[in-house]
């Protein structure tokens, strides 16, 4: 009996891997096409072998190696990005488990970034307090669509999309403050670097736990993210709270019949989901690798939406989310190292896009794979 659940887990993993393989293959085809165009424009005679080798050495190799392509800078970037991606992925996955689609992770991420940076730059609070502030801000921003869903039955997708933009521009306005905000550095047109203003607000490094201002290595953020993923898995699978949340997700009416307060659960699930996205922002902006740019941040943070991809690729499993976030981070970091004059770095997005698209077919793969499995079983008997 337990065997069965184990088998379905294996099938899920296999079909995710199949998605990845096909995605990489299609990405490689795109690279070959671009390499061909580039070589033809170069005017020199070339063979198909040249096309293949150009596509591989100046593009596909980077994608495959990811952050490893340029040690240690690349690996650091990959791990920092992965930590945040795990969090936004968990945000979306957790909401999915409760039957909600949190498309608002991007907005919650932005508001979380504000919470973290405000506590760091203005109050110079220690990093863990800043992180909690980021979580709280994200939680509030997630709870609002949850509230509208629970009490007025307004689809959370619509509210969350609107709150994405409200959050983004609200945060921009607050951080810029007409140029006079204490968080804003007029010279760089970014927020002040956390390292310069409040070293204690930086998340401790991986190498040593003391703060180093220059040459920032990766932080312990990745461990925090993995730990949170494990906690979420436990909450969803082992606790009465998780039992209630999933019951609401599967059947609102049956949950109500069982005396579960589904309104409370919807709001709570959205708040937790928002808090996770907020922590994602905190991990990123408190790592000292980037500052917020209030004047040019006119698009929603991509990490928020990538969380949807991460969650889908992981079939909303918290532990799976860790791996799918690592993977997405791996290929997009690698994409940045491709020869920019031949390949646009967005190729990495194309690959992850194809993979996510294939995730929609995952059900199909699952059925195929399980059919192969059952055929083997039959043969065995």
């Amino acid at each position: 009996m337990e065997n069965n659940r184990f088998r379905s887990g294996i099938i899920t993993i296999l079909s995710a891997l199949l998605c990845i393989l096909i995605g990489l293959f299609i990405g490689f085809l795109a690279l070959i096409l671009l390499a061909y165009i580039s070589l033809r424009n170069g005017g020199n005679p070339f063979t198909f072998g040249d096309v293949l080798s150009t596509a591989y050495t100046s593009g596909f190799k980077q994608v495959l190696l990811g952050g490893l392509y340029q040690m240690p800078r690349g690996l650091r970037a990959e791990i920092t990005l992965a930590a945040s991606l795990i969090m936004t992925g968990l945000s979306v996955a957790f909401a999915f488990k409760t039957g909600l689609f949190n498309i608002g992770a991007a907005g919650q991420y932005a508001v979380g970034a504000f919470g973290a940076l405000y506590c760091a730059l203005i109050w110079n609070l220690p990093w863990y307090v800043c992180l909690i502030a980021a979580a709280l801000c994200g939680a509030v921003w997630g709870a609002i669509p949850g509230f509208f869903k629970a009490y007025f039955n307004i689809n959370e997708v619509i509210t969350a999309i609107m709150f994405n933009w409200i959050g983004l521009y609200g945060v921009n306005t607050l951080m810029y403050g007409g140029g006079s905000s204490p968080m804003y550095n007029l010279k760089t047109t970014k927020t002040w670097p956390v390292a310069a203003k409040s070293a204690g607000s930086l998340i401790p490094d991986l190498k040593d736990l003391g703060a180093t201002y220059f040459q920032r290595p990766a932080t312990i953020g990745i461990f925090i993210a993995v730990l949170i993923a494990v906690i979420l898995w436990v909450v969803l699978n082992k606790t009465t709270f998780g039992y209630e949340l999933k019951a609401c997700g599967y059947s609102k009416t049956a949950a109500k019949y069982a005396g579960i307060n589904e309104k409370k659960n919807i709001i709570l699930a959205m708040a937790i989901s928002g808090a996770l996205a907020g922590i994602g922002a905190g991990l990123y902006y408190l790592s000292g690798t980037a500052e917020w740019q209030p004047l040019v941040s006119t698009a929603l943070p991509g990490i928020g939406f990538d969380g949807i991809s991460v969650a889908l690729l992981a079939s909303s499993n918290p532990i799976g989310t860790v791996f799918s976030a690592l993977f997405i981070s791996h290929i997009s970091t690698g994409g940045g190292f491709m020869s920019a004059n031949i390949f646009p770095p967005e190729i990495a997005d194309v690959i992850s896009g194809v993979i996510i698209y294939l995730c929609a077919f995952m059900m199909l793969f699952k059925r195929r794979i399980s059919r192969v499995f059952s055929r083997e079983n039959k043969g065995g008997k």
Binding site: T240, Y243, Y257
Partner: protein, 515 residues
């Protein structure tokens, strides 16, 4: 030329963990009404799904007019003139009746629908077979009975002459059942052949020409109804003798457990109240039945009683304690258990495992959780106990996903869960809807044992036979009011029927008469 329009020969269909059909043969003559009888999970629906092209059998063949045919999907079935009305209707709820009927068989010129032609055809069919429908109504607004007529018209619109009806009477009122039988006879006279899945023996005796019986996936036999009896059929179906009457001990009733006073509940469908000033009481050791035709306020009353929907007026007391403003959970804690009317909507989280469903009403109890963590081992042990004790059958035991279980076993799981809680009040709404005689007998005995253990039972049922057999007192509900109170020993089904149809009303009876 073969005698049979459809022959299904030696069909075997295997699902993981279960042989749903094992060498089953079924032969359908032209112009006959052929009943397919079997317990829940006997493989009736599977067999019909094979015929309709939804499943491919592992072995066996299907012949139409003596010629072997391949049916790979419902379109193939349709091309052979086979139509099916599923137990759970397949209608687009937000479409009109007409749109639903033509959906999938739309006639159009240059992409523009020819609705007028379609309307004429549907109207003609509707008149010919006396299938009253409102073509412009939206499906979600019409009664279940009318939805079924829409499904039947869908088949007729496609010129099908082999009609499969999967438990068509399970959702109908007694009057609607009579109408349906008349319609079926009309079809047979026209030369159409009808396959009719059921486990109601009375209906088979009344309408079918022949009957094929399945038991646990195996073919038991085919009999002419005029040469058989109800008892014989049920023995073929269950494999043992089944008693149609229950043995009820006389026990003295105890103190008042449930006291309902002036309860008024608003309707969701119209502006009027669905339940008007209903007052009654249920004592320990008695089964009080709320009888009536569907849609007379029983559902709304139970929703208010169990806390699913708010009521506008009135008081509810349980063991003397006022629970009017209690939440659903608090009512459950105070001692109300509830076998809900809709097992898919309320009774089960269909995507949860059977064991998780078994603790749906008590996962929060200290026995099953410790500091917010579910005691998985306890849940498993408890689920196994209930499965064993109440004979709930499933493919993989406690870890079976509830959705994959047969309807009867889903219902048994709910009954097991609710009865085992041992609360002072059991509210059972249509507990045997859609079940076979074996399961009905079993559930009836369970409900009686609840009564015999000096608990109070409020039974809501549309089945008059069940009402007469089980209850100690009968309250008839009509248009949201209690119009009469009866003792099953002194009343008749006919008398109840008159009150249920609103033809008669007792004045002052069954109204709460104070302390």
């Amino acid at each position: 030329m073969s005698d049979y329009v459809i022959e299904m020969l030696h069909i075997t269909k295997i699902f993981p963990g279960i042989k749903a059909n094992d060498d089953v043969t079924l032969q359908l003559k032209k112009g006959e009404i052929h009943a397919l009888l079997g317990e829940n999970g006997a493989g009736k629906s599977t067999l019909m799904s094979v015929l309709f092209g939804l499943y491919q059998p592992e072995s066996g063949e299907i012949r139409k007019d003596g010629k072997k045919v391949e049916i790979n999907n419902p379109n193939d079935a349709n091309a052979l003139g086979i139509g099916m009305v599923h137990q759970h209707f397949k209608l687009v709820e937000v479409f009109s009746v007409l749109d639903n009927i033509i959906l999938g068989a739309e006639d159009s010129t240059m992409g523009v629908l020819k609705k007028k032609k379609a309307r004429e055809k549907v109207e003609a069919l509707s008149k010919k077979y006396n299938l009253k429908v409102d073509l412009d109504a939206i499906v979600e607004d019409i009664s279940v009975g009318m939805q079924q007529r829409v499904e039947i018209l869908k088949m007729l619109y496609r010129d099908n002459d082999i009609l499969i009806l999967d438990e068509p009477t399970a959702v109908l009122t007694p009057q609607e059942i009579d109408e349906l039988m008349e319609i079926m006879r009309g079809f047979a006279r026209e030369g159409k052949s009808i396959l009719f899945i059921t486990h109601k023996l009375n209906e088979i005796m009344a309408v079918a020409d022949r009957c094929t019986v399945l038991r646990k996936g195996k073919y038991v036999g085919t009999v002419e109804t005029k040469n058989t009896t109800k008892e014989e059929l049920s023995k073929m179906m269950v494999g043992r003798d089944v008693s149609f009457t229950v043995d009820k001990k006389d026990i003295a009733v105890g103190s008042v457990v449930l006291e309902v006073r002036d309860v008024t509940v608003p309707s969701k469908r119209h502006k009027k109240d669905a339940v008007k000033n209903v007052s009654f009481e249920v004592r320990a050791g008695e089964i009080v039945c709320l009888a009536g035709i569907e849609g007379n306020g029983q559902t709304e009353f139970v929703s208010a009683l169990t806390g699913l929907e708010p009521m506008t007026k009135g008081r509810i007391r349980l063991n003397g304690k006022d629970i009017t403003h209690f939440s659903i959970r608090d009512r459950a804690k105070a001692g109300v258990s509830h076998i809900p009317e809709d097992r898919h909507k309320h009774g089960l989280v269909l995507d949860y495992t059977l064991e998780d469903n078994m603790v749906l009403q008590r996962y929060w109890e200290p026995a099953f959780q410790d500091g917010g963590f579910i005691k998985r081992r306890e849940v498993r042990r408890y689920a196994e106990k209930l499965i064993d004790q109440y004979d709930v059958r499933s493919g993989q035991g406690p870890v079976t996903i509830a959705r994959s279980m047969s309807g009867g076993n889903q219902q048994k799981a709910i009954v097991a869960r609710e009865i085992d809680r041992g609360t002072d009040l059991l509210v059972a709404v249509q507990p045997t809807r859609g079940l076979d005689v074996g399961a009905i007998e079993y559930i009836h005995n369970q409900i009686l044992s609840v009564r015999d253990s000096r608990k109070a039972v409020l039974l809501v049922s549309l089945e008059l036979e069940e009402v007469m057999n089980l209850s100690d007192r009968i309250l008839v509900m009509y248009e949201g009011e209690i119009v009469g109170e009866f003792d099953p020993k002194t009343t008749t089904v006919e008398e109840l029927g008159l009150y249920m149809a609103g033809a008669r009303k007792q004045s002052e009876v069954a109204q709460y008469d104070g302390e």
